[in-house]
Amino acid sequence: MMNDEEKIVTDAQVRNKTLLSMLFLLVFFAGAVTGWKWLHKQPKDEGAPRPLRNALIANELIFENIFSNNHTAKTFSKKSAVPRVRVNGDAGMSEDFDPSSWKLEVIRNVNDTLRLSLDEIKALPKTEIIFDFKCIEGWSQVTHWGGVRFSDFVKKYGLDEQAKLQFTGLVTPDMEYYVGIDTKSMMHPQTLLCYEMNGAPLPMNQGYPLRLIIPVKYGVKHIKRIGSLFFSSQRPKDYWYERGYDYYCGL
């Protein structure tokens, strides 16, 4: 009559097995709650509990493997670009900035800084891009930008050796906002040193005279009003990284 899925047991056996299993489930949930509390008590590493920071770094190591210059952000037609571009964040945009004396500082080496005017940068071939700009907050907007491909810039100014270093750092003139980006992403064909928005010079609140447009990253990396840039084998400091966000922010 009976198959092997069935058994006859005493009431006590049923009770004991049930108690034991229930106890185990209780211990399991207590463990989960304890683990959760433990996680939040861990020392912070750049604003994130250390285990979570390690996970973000591990994710970077995993997902940078699928990064390719052949993977490009989808581009759109000019008429899809919004006329009014959202302005987010004003760190590094101090009031006392004097654009007339601005020059881009490219730190090639210790005591070897290249200073370039906007006209010198504009003399390089112009590249335009209309893409879906993605903010780390979750919104996105199709916007139209123009500037010099960073890879063209590196070639023109003979920065090939420096560009072999793993990271690039960019800082605003007042040093209040700063980003660190893996140089691979900087050399992506859609990454621009940007001086135009919607076919006109960058507005002041969008980073005049020069900002970064890097479609393979969230908006936080598209630093406005670049003062200086440098290359490094170490991670340059990064404003939002210090506040608990992922360093890589790669899309």
Binding site: E5, K7, A55, G138, R243
Partner: protein, 238 residues
């Protein structure tokens, strides 16, 4: 003396109970992330019936201004959710448990009868094995939903590197909306699931903890429909 019958294998109980806290953390961290751009609502034109989420909800749960924390949690626990789900799916395939869960050719017809029965419109149920037709559809549906969560999540996580996936799901903004809608469906599934488990009673719940169910001797007083079902299982297995 009692007669017991094996119900859920140990592996399935582990996958099930592990998924509970993992999914809870995924939904919680998802709320922290979503808050930074909380644009979804139910309504038309200027009329909003339900905003996701009302300010009182966000304030009560202390959700605002925790985007960084939400992202770091989400991008850690996503691995646990994915691994647990994939192992569960592989286990179903290799243990042949899937035969008890995936709908068969009668399930879609029978699920209707189960629904009418559960709503107390109609008495009696078609014969079933471990799960009835409605459960088969629901539990298979949740596996597909979990898989879809991974896909939509990946699409908004790496929309440039996985541009083809993002395009397949209707683009970046659609993928984000889908990820959100499926989370809501997950929560609704959870609510219905808990209600059903409460209605089914202790013996059924114990099955997911201990792995066995007790079969009451037939003809004894207090014989319920659940026991009739268990009887059917035995008959079918013979």
């Amino acid at each position: 003396m009692k007669k017991i019958i094996k119900k859920h294998p140990l592996a399935i109980r582990w996958f099930h109970w592990l998924n509970f806290p993992i999914l809870a953390v995924m939904i919680w961290s998802g709320l922290l992330i979503y808050w930074a751009n909380d644009v979804y609502r139910v309504g038309w034109g200027d009329k909003t019936i339900l905003k996701f989420f009302p300010d009182t909800f966000n304030k009560a749960l202390n959700i605002p201004y925790r985007l960084a924390e939400g992202m770091s949690l989400h991008f850690f626990f996503m691995w646990l959710f994915a691994i647990n789900g994939i192992l569960y799916f592989l286990y179903l395939l290799f243990s042949k448990e899937y035969k008890l869960i995936f709908p068969n050719k009668n399930s879609f017809k029978e699920a209707w009868l189960v629904l009418l029965h559960d709503l107390h419109i109609k008495k009696g149920l078609p014969p079933q094995k471990k799960y009835n037709a409605a459960q088969r559809i629901a539990y298979t549906g949740i596996i597909i939903m979990g898989f879809f969560m991974l896909l939509t999540g990946l699409a908004i996580y790496k929309p440039v590197q996985l541009y083809w996936l993002c395009a397949m799901l209707g683009g970046y903004e659609w993928a984000r909306a889908e990820h959100f809608i499926f989370t809501i469906l997950f929560v609704l599934f959870f609510l219905v699931h808990v209600i059903q488990v409460i209605l089914a009673g202790w013996n059924n719940f114990r099955g997911m903890v201990t792995g066995f169910e007790v079969i009451k001797p037939s003809g004894s007083p207090g014989l319920s429909e659940t026991n009739n079902l268990t009887e059917t299982i035995i008959l079918n297995d013979e």
